[in-house]
């Protein structure tokens, strides 16, 4: 009996700790929401954060979408992601295939060399890229942005695809080659389809990190019509610095699609991260 009481106490304590932590963790989002539903006049009249306004200012949200251009920024970001992510995965899978399933010489040295990009700070490329892009007229182009995104993304993608492909039974390749397939057929029709789980994980995680990238996008894109969400958000904040409710509505809107993607594909994050450890 005593043991059971102890167990119950332990369980209660655990929930208490978790609930306190969870409440702390939700504070930023609640604050954002409580500010977003208030109109400019509410702030002028000194309404407190925890007080409800007489009328919820839903127009903050619709205005942020249209006048605040958030809808446009999301569309731009979506285009960049849909160009970058599949292309990046494809070329990284090809490289990982060469590294793990062909007789490439010095494969380990190549692999380690290709991982460097994961560690180098993007700052190292900022000046050279902006000089070259200015010369080539690639500033304010989607191609310019997603090309450099792919470059900075290949290291991590190769790491993940390399880890996954290493684990596929080599008897599968041998069977394919005996049946008369060449390397390309083996890659496209056999190995790539087996890699579906790794590809799915990479797709989701890379989609989000591309969607959220700020530094490179802020250097390469300065045309309001072409900006991605994080860069657009900074512009939005700069334009509406004192209109608190409107501003918070904009930030909240920028967060919602990401949250939706996360909730739908949650298990890929957990599995993908765990996969990276192996």
């Amino acid at each position: 009996m005593e043991g059971k009481a102890k167990k119950n106490a332990k369980s209660a304590l655990r929930y208490l700790v978790l609930i306190i932590l969870a409440l702390l963790w939700i504070v930023p989002i609640v604050t954002l929401f409580l500010t977003a539903i208030k109109a400019k006049s509410d702030f002028i009249s000194g309404l407190g954060l925890f007080e409800m306004p007489e009328r919820l200012a839903w127009e903050n949200f619709t205005n942020a979408m249209t006048q605040g251009r958030l809808f446009l920024y999301m569309k731009n970001d979506l285009i960049i992601c849909l160009l970058k992510v599949p292309l990046g995965i494809f070329i990284s899978s090809m490289a990982a295939f060469a590294l793990t399933r062909t007789k490439l010489k010095h494969a380990t040295a190549w692999f380690v060399f290709l991982l460097l990009g994961m560690m180098l700070p993007m700052q190292i490329a900022l000046v050279p890229i902006s000089i070259i892009y200015n010369k080539l007229g690639l500033i304010n182009t989607y191609f310019g942005l997603f090309y450099i995104y792919i470059g900075f993304g290949v290291s991590f993608m190769i790491l993940i695809m390399h880890g996954f492909m290493k684990g596929i039974d080599f008897a599968i390749d041998e069977a394919a080659y005996i049946d008369g397939a060449n390397k390309w057929q083996n890659f496209f029709h056999i190995i790539l389809p087996i890699c579906k789980p790794a590809i799915a994980t990479l797709f989701i995680t890379d989609f989000l990190s591309t969607w959220n990238e700020y530094l490179l996008a802020s250097v390469i894109i300065n045309d309001n019509k072409l900006k991605t969400v994080p860069v657009g958000l900074m512009t939005f904040v700069g334009e509406h610095g004192t209109d608190y409710g409107y501003l918070c509505a904009g930030v909240l809107i920028s967060v919602i699609p990401v949250m939706a993607v996360y909730l739908i594909f949650q298990r890929y994050f957990v599995e993908g991260m765990a996969g990276a450890v192996k």
Partner: protein, 286 residues
């Protein structure tokens, strides 16, 4: 037979072209630019080590350097500890475990820029959460958390922590899940208590996970930028200036292209402290 020899290189080619042009070539180009002075294209002149000697005497550079080091130390100790504790908590079997795990991870999917802007509303002296909450409790004080040099860096770190614990937590959970229950049971039969088991069995068994977590956190801490840009932009009075933000400001605000690039080179040299061991670790594992 011919196909067998060239095919591996053809598979490598697209990744290699992009990688060389986006990463490797700019590293050397940056090194070259860091020996020059001027405001941009066309007006650059070779000045040798002048940018570097100037950095040594630049007070703001040393402040940025110090803040980056503080940030790294805080990240390695605080972020690792908090995420490990959460992972241990989540690793137990209880109702709602999946929910809590997903819940503590969610800030990780938001962009750092959005996180920075969200936290402006926590720290805002008039309508921010902290000061309003204090008022609700009857405490009458207003503290300008991010515009006071003393509190700015730590306030910035707390905002970053909110977002940063999700990924290491998941990595630690994977590490904890990989430990066989038999080993832990054997330890408890031998009379070890929970704390002893944790420090003497669990932690040593998770060595690889620790290497992974600490190296990724270290790399991220060295290049921290977005949250700084969005929350304080290095201010007030450079109290939150880090190497990445100082580099950006020198290049894009003051047009000191060569000088800023020299800071980027310093950042890479710092990174080598992590890069070299990590590379040899990976090479050995292969």
């Amino acid at each position: 037979m011919k196909e067998n020899k060239t095919a591996p290189y053809l598979f490598m080619l697209p990744a290699l072209i992009i990688y060389l042009s986006v990463i490797i070539f700019p590293v050397f180009y940056s090194l070259w630019i860091s020996f020059q002075s001027g405001t941009g294209i066309g007006s650059m002149e070779f000045v040798g080590m002048k940018n570097y000697t100037q950095l040594i005497h630049d007070e703001v550079f040393w402040m940025s350097f110090k803040h980056t080091i503080i940030w790294i130390v805080l990240t390695v100790f605080v972020t690792t500890t908090v995420s490990l504790m959460l992972a241990v908590l989540m690793n137990q079997k209880f109702r709602g475990r999946t929910f809590f795990r997903a819940f503590f991870y969610f800030p990780s999917v938001i962009s750092a820029i959005a996180v920075a802007i969200i936290w402006r509303w926590i720290y805002n002296p008039q309508i921010g959460f902290i000061n309003q909450f204090a008022q609700m409790l009857g405490l009458d004080f207003t503290q300008t958390w991010i515009s006071t040099p003393n509190t700015a860096l730590i306030a910035l770190f707390i905002a970053a922590l909110w977002q940063a614990i999700g990924q290491p937590m998941i990595l630690f959970l994977a590490g904890l899940g990989g430990i066989s229950p038999d080993v832990l049971e054997a330890a408890s039969i031998d009379g070890a208590n929970g704390v002893q088991t944790f420090f003497h069995i669990t932690i040593p068994l998770m060595k690889d996970t620790f290497i992974m977590v600490i190296s990724t956190l270290l790399i991220a801490a060295m290049k921290v930028y977005d949250i700084v840009k969005g929350l304080t932009d290095g201010g007030p009075n450079n109290a939150t200036q880090v190497l990445a933000s100082y580099m950006y400001n020198q290049v894009f605000q003051y047009n000191n292209v060569g000088y800023g690039t020299a800071i980027a080179i310093i950042m890479v040299l710092m990174m080598l402290i992590v890069i070299i061991p990590y590379m040899s670790f990976t090479a050995k594992k292969e």
